[in-house]
């Protein structure tokens, strides 16, 4: 049985050819190479032969264990207090050169918590920086996806009106998308500057000097939030345009019918606009999620993952390791992990938003 793709379709293949070749060479091939490299010790620069190392890279990245410690007790059995809190045995004595615990060698504390009582549970990771990168990336995605999609929808509804000069607003909202993300990041670094940045000056002026200057990017508690805000602002215009195209496919007759029936604005949105945007919403959610997982340029330009790893992200770590530290295998393993994460989330999103018959 000859299919449409093989019969008298030479022109079609000729036209698709260049794109297929480029995608094969620059997307598909590197993808399979990355999977292959992640099981070796491939270096960027090295005279040594590449060796197969199995799952070592993954074990190094994802190794996590917990350790519950009892507080130090004095001879009478009372808990030794230090600075008002119980003192625990030092982790360093367990994780470094300790022949009794070879399984803990090279691990570091990620965080610790107490489940009541005197004992304290420590979560140790083989690669704390990567763990923080995963957490930061998820925080970024969880905040950016709904907020950016919502803001973009709001803007799209605002500019989807027949008003004089509406194109000016469309252009203004879309402008940050056209500017290179590197340039935008450089500008926002100036805006966020801790001493004389625009944002600090603005806050100082409107509060009559009550708000002291904040070192937005130099403070671990504000750095990621600053990057989230700036990233939402930068790409919101792009998604606004997609929403807009979705809005314009909704038949005007439906709105006319609603007007005749005397529907309120909210009812129009709830029962006509929103159902009509269903497919657009699925697309936007998936696109934003995938883009947000790829967070890199802002970090590279603005913070380099700091301060104190508060802005490390998965892609930044992949590039930092692969090129900065010449460890292509480690970078590849990170990319594969990211691929698995994004793939599973996209599949879940597809499943959740499937057409229910």
């Amino acid at each position: 049985m000859a299919s449409k793709f093989t019969v008298s379709n030479r022109t079609g293949w000729l036209m698709a050819g260049p794109a297929v070749l480029l995608i094969a060479g620059f997307v598909i091939l590197p993808f399979f190479l990355a999977i292959g490299f992640s099981f070796t010790n491939q270096r960027l620069v090295s005279p040594n032969p590449t060796e197969f190392t199995g799952l070592e890279n993954y074990r190094q990245l994802l190794g996590v264990t917990t350790l519950t410690l009892e507080p130090v007790r004095d001879e009478a059995g009372a808990v030794v207090m230090k600075d008002g809190a119980p003192e625990y045995p030092s982790l360093r004595s367990l994780t470094r050169n300790n022949p009794d615990r070879p399984d803990l060698a090279g691990m570091r504390e990620w965080f610790n918590f107490s489940t009541g009582g005197d004992s304290r549970t420590y979560v140790l990771a083989r690669d704390v920086v990567f763990m923080k990168a995963i957490v930061n990336t998820f925080i970024f995605v969880i905040v950016v996806a709904p907020v950016q999609a919502g803001l973009a929808l709001g803007l799209a509804l605002l500019i989807n009106q027949r008003l004089r000069g509406i194109n000016v607003f469309r252009a203004i909202y879309f402008m940050p998308v056209v500017v290179s993300i590197v340039v935008v990041s450089l500008l926002w670094r100036l805006i966020y500057d801790g001493q004389s940045g625009l944002l600090n000056n603005l806050l100082g002026t409107i509060s009559f000097g009550l708000i002291p200057p904040v070192d937005w990017l130099g403070n671990p508690s504000t750095a990621l939030g600053s990057i989230i805000a700036m990233s939402i602002w930068q790409a919101v215009g792009f998604h606004m345009v997609i929403w807009l195209s979705g809005l314009q496919t909704i038949s005007p007759t439906l709105y006319e019918a609603a007007a005749i029936e005397g529907a309120s604005k909210w009812q129009v949105f709830r029962y006509i606009t929103w159902p009509g945007l269903r497919n657009t919403a699925v697309l936007i959610l998936i696109v934003i999620t995938m883009q947000a997982f790829g967070l890199f340029a802002q970090i590279d330009v603005m913070t380099n993952g700091g301060p104190l790893d508060s802005t490390q992200t998965i892609v930044f770590q992949a590039i930092e390791r692969g090129y900065g530290k010449q460890d292509i295998s480690g970078g590849s393993a990170i990319s594969v992990i990211l691929f698995v994460i994004v793939l599973s989330i996209s599949l879940i999103q597809r499943w959740l938003t499937r057409e229910k018959s």
Partner: protein, 416 residues
């Protein structure tokens, strides 16, 4: 028609014979975008091409930020030029990876070169620099007088206590935003270049230089822990700022925001222009002697070059004092030889920057000479930034030592 053909073939023959007589040597340089530097290097090339008839050097310039990536990409594609320039601490990595071959030049020609300008790996010379760079503690004579501080010399530098007393005095005076400007805004190679000498002055190091096989004990031993606590204290106690506006790094000292600035000779003329009484003090002795970094950009021959003797001839030609002096006059770096220094107003005996030559000769220590330095520099930079931001010193240095050791192991010991 026939005449035209004849003329054409004659022209081709002519061109072919000229090409045969002169072999073309390609050369890559990192200075694209810097007009002065390019003019100087072109002058050397023009003089060399005119001075003999065997070789003809052709230059290709890259912006500094993209240079190292271009070399790595060129090497992977088997497409390196004959002559390369390389940042001193990177050289062992490229030599080990097989990008470079040993440089064969007349030993006597480089006998009086500053130690930091010679790129030696595995007992062989691979690269040589026309200049070196040095760092000093920049301040004003009036500041020293006002705070009642002794002016240190390279033979009698400030001790750690004297240095901290100076910072205390500056802090107490309340005239400056911060007593000390370390240059925290210059992320990247500045951290290992400028700050690892502090660690070495405490008696620690980035990696154990006796074997280059481990960082254990060097980066997290007692000396290193003492360094880490001291380093963290600089920020915790308000002597310096952990995050700095790049504009403050460039203009803060001249604007009077800092009493002392830890900065390189390239910024020295700017400081002198702002305050004529600017003085350049040697590094403090934090226990194991005063130390500053060394090694700047150097020239070498690529491993794939078919004409290494031609490339070496060019490099030898470029080592003349007049070119060393020209580069120093043009871009402000320290000439590699004493005789060239005498030809430069800034660096000749009694010149405003002549102390830098002395610091370079007496206190300079090259960064660890190992192919793993490229990774170690990154690990060190992150550790110092984290400690400055207040993490636990011992845990951070332990983690850094572990990461360096894992990398050394992954690379089969880097050929040491």
């Amino acid at each position: 028609m026939k005449v035209f053909k004849l003329a054409a073939s004659a022209a081709i023959l002519c061109w072919a014979s000229a090409a045969q007589a002169q072999t073309t040597l390609s050369m890559w340089y990192h200075g694209a975008g810097n007009e002065v530097e390019l003019k100087l290097i072109n002058e050397v090339i023009t003089d060399f091409n005119a001075s003999q008839s065997d070789w003809k050097v052709e230059l290709q310039s890259f912006p500094q930020a993209a240079y190292n990536d271009s070399v790595v990409a060129g090497a992977l594609a088997g497409n390196l030029p004959d002559i390369l320039d390389v940042d001193g601490p990177n050289m062992p990595n490229w030599a080990w990876a097989g990008y470079m071959q040993p440089l064969v030049i007349d030993e006597s020609k480089i006998a009086n070169f500053l130690p930091g300008t010679k790129g030696v790996w595995d007992g062989k010379l691979y690269s040589i620099g026309l200049w070196d760079a040095a760092v000093a503690l920049v301040t004003r004579q009036s500041t020293l007088d006002e705070l009642g501080l002794r002016k240190p010399t390279v033979d009698a530098p400030w001790t750690k206590d004297e240095f901290m007393a100076a910072l205390d005095a500056a802090k107490a005076a309340g005239k400056w935003e911060y007593p000390l400007d370390l240059g925290m805004a210059w992320t990247g190679e500045w951290y290992p270049y400028a700050f690892s000498p502090f660690l070495q002055s405490f008696g620690g190091d980035i990696v154990d230089r006796s074997t280059y096989k481990t960082a254990e004990g060097a980066l997290n031993g007692d000396a290193a822990l003492a360094f880490g606590e001291w380093w963290q204290g600089l920020f915790k106690n308000g002597y310096a700022q952990a995050t700095q506006d790049p504009a403050d790094r460039d203009g803060g000292f001249a604007a009077g925001k800092y009493a002392f600035s830890w900065n390189g000779n390239w910024a020295a003329l700017g400081a002198l222009a702002a305050f004529p009484d600017t003085v350049f003090l040697p590094a403090p002795d934090l226990g194991a002697g005063p130390k500053i970094g060394a090694a700047s950009w150097q020239f070498g021959v690529s491993a794939t070059s078919k004409n290494p003797q031609g490339a070496a001839a060019f490099i030898e030609f470029a080592l003349q004092d007049k070119y060393l002096a020209a580069f120093s006059n043009g871009i402000g770096l320290i000439p590699a030889t004493p005789s060239a220094s005498e030809m430069v107003d800034n660096y000749k005996a009694g010149g405003p920057l002549s102390v830098f030559v002395e610091y370079s000769a007496k206190t300079a220590l090259v960064r660890p000479v190992t192919p793993g330095y490229v990774v170690q520099a990154k690990v060190f930079e992150k550790a110092l930034a984290d400690i400055a931001n207040g993490t636990d010193v011992a845990a951070t240095l332990d983690a850094a030592a572990d990461e360096i050791n894992a990398d050394i192991e992954k690379n089969g010991g880097y050929g040491h």
